[in-house]
Assembly symmetry: C2
Homo-oligomer: 159 residues x 2
DNA sequence: ACAGCCGCTACTGATTTCGAAGCATATTTC
DNA sequence: GAAATATGCTTCGAAATCAGTAGCGGCTGT
């Protein structure tokens, strides 16, 4: 899980070489170290050591990302939540739910935004009424059902 | 880019074995085919062939995912957009912007939800006023600045 | 029954990965 | 300023993995 303790604004920024390595892996997470090395001007072992450090430090992780629709999760939605009380506590409760893929504390007319991935409308209704709205401190919710996913990218590492 | 043509509700669902393979790769995108094979009861070559097909079909992709904060993108936000006219056209315009990581057409009080990843507040203001609000058909926007990311997962492939 | 297709296994050589050792450049310490 | 320590890189050989392909059942449709 990335950003779990997001208040660690530790390292100022990354080496240009490390950024180049990340860019390579954003294109293909299984690219070989040797090939990456050739692209960024480093030996195979050096790339390997850097990748190890980057993943250990939690800067990057290499994972399979799937299209939920293709896996039988036909209903996705964003839930805007208004909270009375400590928003972090409520966010933690939401985070525990497996159908919730994404939770963020936000400023604006919602205190929390939560992304839901579930099988169908029934599962969504069930989740909302039986679980989310039952959480202590949730005063109101607003649901934005996804009609069509237009863009989703993970390569903001560059620019 | 996943879900670009999301209306292809083609395959009903996936083989249990393929799901198991995906789960393995969601844990570690660089796990070896042999190891995966041992876990799901298949030969190394069979796993390799399946992974190839899954990625070719766009069901899954193996990529490096980064923590934006660690890479100098200190400001993230969700933008709710209200549109007059064809929402798809507006969504396409938004998708073209590099700072926009995520665009979805939604039902509810917003027509489009767009996630922004940018360097700082200045970049966010600039983007909103100079680019997003200038798009033909955007009638109003609401910004939800991210205060803290509590959860982000990519392994909804199981359950 | 047969041909064609599909997915799996088995096997090969080429490539990659892994760990360790060595080396050069900074940084620290006294 | 010199010795000690740390860091990041390269090189290298052994072990593992990857990629391509041939072969082999099991299905499907005719």
């Amino acid at each position: 899980m990335i950003g779990d303790v997001s208040n660690k604004r530790t390292t100022p920024s990354l080496d240009a070489t490390s950024k180049a390595i990340i860019e390579q892996l954003q294109l293909d997470g299984r690219r070989s170290y040797a090939e990456i090395g050739k692209a960024v001007g480093l030996s195979e072992a050096a790339v390997r050591q850097r990748v190890q450090k980057l993943t250990d430090a939690g800067v990057m992780q290499i994972v399979a990302v799937t299209d939920p629709m293709r896996l039988g999760f036909n209903r996705q939605a964003m839930i805007g939540v208004r909270v009375s009380g400590d928003t972090r506590v409520v966010a933690d409760r939401l985070s525990e739910m497996p159908e919730v893929a994404y939770v963020v504390l936000s400023a604006g007319s919602f205190d929390i935004l939560a992304e839901i991935v579930c099988e169908d409308d029934d599962a969504l209704i069930e989740l909302l009424n039986q679980k989310i709205r039952c959480v202590e401190g949730v005063s109101s919710t607003e649901t934005f059902v996804y009609l069509q996913l237009k863009k989703q990218k993970y390569d903001w590492g560059t620019r």
